[in-house]
Structures are given as structure tokens and as C-alpha cells.
Symmetry: C2
Subunit: 342 residues, 2 copies
DNA sequence: TAAAACAACGTTACCGGTAACTTTATTGGA
DNA sequence: TCCAATAAAGTTACCGGTAACGTTGTTTTA
């Protein structure tokens, strides 16, 4: 842990000041571009700072000023493009507003999330962004008692800690279900993760079922639970199981696009034609889903919009504008060719 | 940028100290678990700290101690699992050694990389990890003059700034080429990004060609340049082009697995059977490539090993152990079913 | 031409911790 | 029983910046 670069000299404000024959306060002003320094002297100071390889110390600065420009963003995993899009959208917005961001992955573990929040709070961040709305009580407490402006993205079903932007997953499932049900499918199967693993997916499934009930009076779904996360192989296994359990099913709705990819591959392997023999549906509308043949029927989870709208709301809050707590976006069906009218 | 929580009170060491009737130094010791505090008093202090919602201020701590436990990691993009694996492997190793990490994406822009390095240096990091070996001179200068222990991962062909761990991409291409050439393919095509975009891919291509020259006297490759990055659709377009330009080609080597996925989908669309009519090869061995049907022939880029070995080397350096500059790993062919003996 | 209004710096104090040293009990050994 | 050793705190100084205010010398303005 030691960093004993022995005799290494690192210039500080005072060194630059001494070299220029002024006080460190003048150097501080010159470097920050604050007025109160003659143009001639400023140039001299800037030159000298470069010559001495002066680098400001953020710890000292942050300590002296009471506000930081740091925003922390936590996502479950990097192994999924959906979070990449979310992050990109937010960072860009924050960056333009002069904030810098740090990213953390929780690996879907609430305890990890808590520990990160605690570490981050020590850095006195201007704000924190969390994914989802399921947190340990301690996490919520910490954010509340420290008065950290907090944004929850991805989901916005419950009352937020502070701000939240996301889509309503029940509604998303319902809309997706309404679309495929309208195509005439009547013997659907669902392939997802073990129950309790992904509450948002479960909400979508409830919406799906409701849509089929509403439209087509379909009551019984073949439900396959397999694997977890975004590993396509889980989708492949799921498809095998679904076909074994319900050989006459005409549609398989997968937990997400990754699962659906695995499912499509399994179809290919088994000689099942999509969409002729079977309809396949994913969720998220990740980039690769639109490169598949057939084009995957899925639904955008509006990651870019969530990120951008969320970031803007958070910025507004940081600027003292009062903003509504939760904002719910509506997912949009992508009508691919992996389903067709029956 | 202001964070004017007006009258909000945030407890500091002194507040906890006053509440316990001791000095802040004692509290500091108690909270850090440093010896010199009686057990009874320590418990009382811990309790009081919790009661007052005390949170240490990292800026003050970092300023007071001269060494930090922060490591910055920069990768090109989050839109690719390969970097996720790299990051995960490194973070875990760093975390266990007591370091915390921050992630940045450069979006393949060296100027972005430089600006991030400059920002990060202000935080006095213990070390910095960069991806690749292509940096602006200013970046290298900054790292050198500030004596920041630096690790370059992914590639290790050139002399490193400090430490480097990666695979030799020419060698990787050569090995991959030797394998597929040995299967009997003789009319290969390559589908990649525009020249100059991805120097590592170009190195692989040179290795590939050499292998075919060595083994089979194949001289002319059909080279298709299309798209960029990791968008599978670029691979699909590339396959169409390749088939148009060289209808009798028996093998298509793609820039990476993502391209290969697009290529496989295009084959499916065009009724080209893989591997019966055409061999398909990718690169990286990302998780989904092993869920494809046929199983993709590809090569691991050993991201997990690179991350872990790199992190360990860096830790050794931080602990004052002198370590060799560059370490080169060897990629390993994954013999899939998207190619077969001809 | 004297007072007021600046511009260009310097001074002082403080941000919230920690290292290193000193002081004050407490304990144990000869 | 007295002194050295040790444990448990307290003191002091400093980390590297910034805000707020004070001090000059030089212009304006009345």
C-alpha cells in the first residue's frame, strides 16, 4: 500500500509561487482563471506551472471547497450492453454540465451496493445514481441522512429514495403481450431466470399474462426457469425444455434478448424454423438483436432516454430546481420477423 | 454545481470526540482500529459515531496521508464483453489487496484518455491502468513525470510505459491461421474494419496471412473492410461483400466474434450452410460465441488472465518488488464447429 | 487636486483528517 | 517500596488548497 517514491519531488502551489516571486494565492487565482491577476503575471505563472509539472491536488481542493463535482453511478454488471447505453447517456450529460463520474458494478449484490455507497459518500459526491429500486435499508438510510441527491434508474415502480426514472415493467410486458397476442399466438411459453432473481422480469411476465388473458383468454403458460443473468446458453437450454414440456407451443417469450439469442440458436440446431414453426420474442432491443436473422421481435427498454432524462432531472435538482420524484417511460415494441401473424 | 444543503449538519471527528469527552485523535484511532484506545472507550466511540451518522472525509484523509489506495482503469468502451471480463478480473484482485478502483471509458479517443489521465492524477492515484499501447505523448509524459505506476493491458508488443501484459496479436493471428489452414481451407476471405482503425486486428491479419503462406502457399486473400467496432451488422454486410467478390471462397475470418455473429446470420439468410458450405472464424472467444450453433471457431484473447496477471504485477510493483516490464501471453484456439476439415 | 473607486496582490484562517511526539496514569519487577 | 516499562490518551504541526478580507499603488471622478 505504500507508495514510497522516496526523493521524488512534486511541485505544489507554493513551489510555483516561490519560483515566480508571488504568493500561492496568486498562483491559485492564475491557474483557476479567477480575476485579480495581471495578464503578464498570469502567463508567467502558467508557464512556470507547466515547467514544474505542477498538478493540482484534488483532495486539498475538495477539502477546501465544500462541494464536489463528482457523481457516482452504480450498475449491476458490465456484461450487458444495456447498461453501457445507460451509462453513456448519463455520463455525456453530466460531463457537459461539468461533473465527472465514477462507475461501479454491484454484481447484483445489494451488500456490494451498500459498501460502495458508503465508500463513495466518503468522497462527498454531489450525487449518486443507482440501478433499480431494490436496496438494503442501510443504503437508503445512508443516502437520506447524508442528504445525497439520489437517482434511481431503470425502474420506477415504487416510491423513489429521491428521484427515479425508468419504465414500468408490468406495463412493458403488457404491451409486448398485447402485440404478440394480437398476432394470433395462443400457446405461449416463457423462458426466464429462477423466480426471485429478477423482479423486473417477473413484473413483465405478469403483464404478459394479463395481456393474453385480456385478448385471447389464454390461461396456461409453459414456464421454464433456467440459468440466470444474460448468458445466451440459458436461453438455449430453456428452449429445449419448453419444447420438451410443450411440444405444440407456438411462441416462446424470453427473459431478454440474450436468452432469445440462445433460443434462436437452439431452434436452428433442432431444425425449428422461426417464425414459421415458432415465434420468438426477446426484451431490451439491444444492438445485436437487430442484426439477427430473423430480426428479433422485442421491446426497447429505452436505456438512452432513461439515462438522459434521469441525468437531466438530477442536474436540475443539483441546481436547486424542484423536480418530481418519479418519471415513468413507456417501452416500445420492435416488430421483428421472429414472429408473424398466425 | 452548488450543493447548498443550507443548515444540514454533518458530523466530523471533532463532533464525535466532543460527544464522547475525548479528543478527535482518539476518535480517529478508535475508528481506524489503531491501537492506543481502551476497549471500553472504543465501543463507546463507535456507538456515538454511528449515532451521529459520522462519515469520514476521504479528501481530508488522502490529504493527510500521502498515499492513496485508488487505482484508475481506462478501457475503450463498455459495449463489449471483452473489456468487462478484463475489468472484473482486475478489480477483484485489486479489491482483495485493499485498493478501490474507478473505471473510465475513452471511446477509443486518445484525447479523452489524456484528459482523464490528467483528471485522475489530481486525485493522486496509487496506479493507473490503460488499455492498449497507443497513447498521446502528453499522456505518457504525464504518467512518467508524476511517477505513476502504470499498467498497459491487452497488448504488449511495444516497450511499455512501465508495465504491460497482453497477447501478441501477430502471433495470435498466426496460430489461428495455422489451425484453420491445417483444416485444408485454401480460399480465405477476411472481414474487418477500415484499415488503421484497429492496429491489433491488423497485426492478427498479418499473422493469419503468414500462416497460410507457410502452410498452404495461399497468397491472395479477399479483404473486406466494413464498419467498425463491434457491431454485428458490419459482419453481415462484410459477408455479403465477400460472397459477391469471391463467390468460391471457402472460409471467412472475421475481425472478432461480434462480426462473426453478423456473418453467421447473413449465412443463414443467404442459405449458406456453416460449416458445410463455408467456414467461419471469429476472435476473442466471448461468452456468446460458445452459445452459437454452430459453435464458433475462434481464439481466446485471454482477458481474464491478462487482467489477473496484470493486476498482480502492478500490486507487486506497488509493494516495491521489481517486476519485468512486459509480459506476453499466448492466445489459444477454440476449435468450434463453424469450421471443419476440408 | 483630493477623495473615491478600482486592480493587483498579500495575509490569515480554515477545510477534516493523520503522524509523531509528549504527557499522564497504571502495572510489574527487583 | 520505588522506579522502569507500558498503555491510554492529549498536543502540536502539517497535508495543499481556497474564501474572505486587508493592503498597496494607480486611475477615475467630482
Amino acid at each position: 500500500m505504500k507508495n514510497n517514491n522516496s526523493d521524488f519531488f512534486r511541485a505544489k502551489l507554493e513551489d510555483v509561487a516561490a519560483a515566480c516571486g508571488v504568493t500561492k494565492m496568486t498562483v491559485s487565482r492564475a491557474l483557476r482563471g479567477v480575476e485579480g491577476v495581471s495578464e503578464k503575471k498570469r502567463l508567467k505563472i502558467l508557464e512556470m506551472a507547466k515547467k514544474l509539472n505542477y498538478v493540482p491536488d484534488n483532495s486539498a481542493r475538495t477539502l477546501a471547497m465544500t462541494n464536489s463535482n463528482l457523481i457516482g453511478i452504480s450498475i449491476p454488471t458490465l456484461y450487458n450492453d444495456v447498461f453501457a447505453e445507460l451509462i453513456d447517456a448519463m455520463r455525456e450529460t453530466f460531463r457537459r454540465a461539468g461533473y465527472s463520474t465514477v462507475i461501479e458494478t454491484t454484481n447484483y449484490d445489494k451488500q456490494n451496493e451498500l459498501e460502495w455507497v458508503q465508500r463513495l459518500i466518503s468522497w462527498r459526491p454531489a450525487a449518486i445514481v443507482l440501478t433499480g429500486q431494490e436496496h438494503l435499508d442501510e443504503t437508503v438510510d445512508a443516502l437520506r441522512t447524508q442528504r445525497i441527491p439520489t437517482l434511481e434508474v431503470w425502474d420506477a415502480a415504487k416510491a423513489p429514495i429521491d428521484l427515479a426514472v425508468g419504465i414500468d415493467h408490468y406495463d412493458a410486458g403488457f404491451r409486448l403481450g398485447r402485440y404478440v397476442a394480437s398476432l394470433g399466438y395462443r400457446r405461449p411459453a416463457y423462458v426466464g431466470a429462477e423466480q426471485g432473481f429478477d423482479p423486473r422480469a417477473e413484473a413483465r411476465l405478469r403483464g404478459l399474462k394479463q395481456a393474453f388473458r385480456d385478448v385471447g383468454r389464454v390461461q396456461d403458460w409453459t414456464e421454464i426457469r433456467t440459468g440466470y443473468r444474460s448468458d445466451p446458453s440459458a436461453g438455449g437450454l430453456g428452449l429445449h425444455d419448453a419444447k420438451a414440456q410443450a411440444p405444440d407451443c407456438d411462441l416462446v417469450v424470453f427473459l431478454n434478448d440474450h436468452y432469445a439469442l440462445g433460443g434462436l440458436m437452439a431452434c436452428h440446431e433442432l431444425g425449428i424454423r422461426v417464425p414459421e414453426d415458432l415465434g420468438v420474442v426477446g426484451f431490451n432491443g439491444v444492438p445485436f438483436s437487430q442484426s439477427l436473422k430473423p430480426l428479433l421481435t422485442t421491446m426497447t427498454s429505452r436505456r438512452h432516454d432513461i439515462g438522459q432524462i434521469g441525468a437531466k432531472k438530477l442536474l436540475a435538482r443539483l441546481n436547486g430546481v424542484s423536480v418530481r420524484g418519479a418519471e415513468i417511460l413507456v417501452g416500445k415494441v420492435i416488430e421483428g420477423t421472429s414472429t408473424r401473424p398466425q
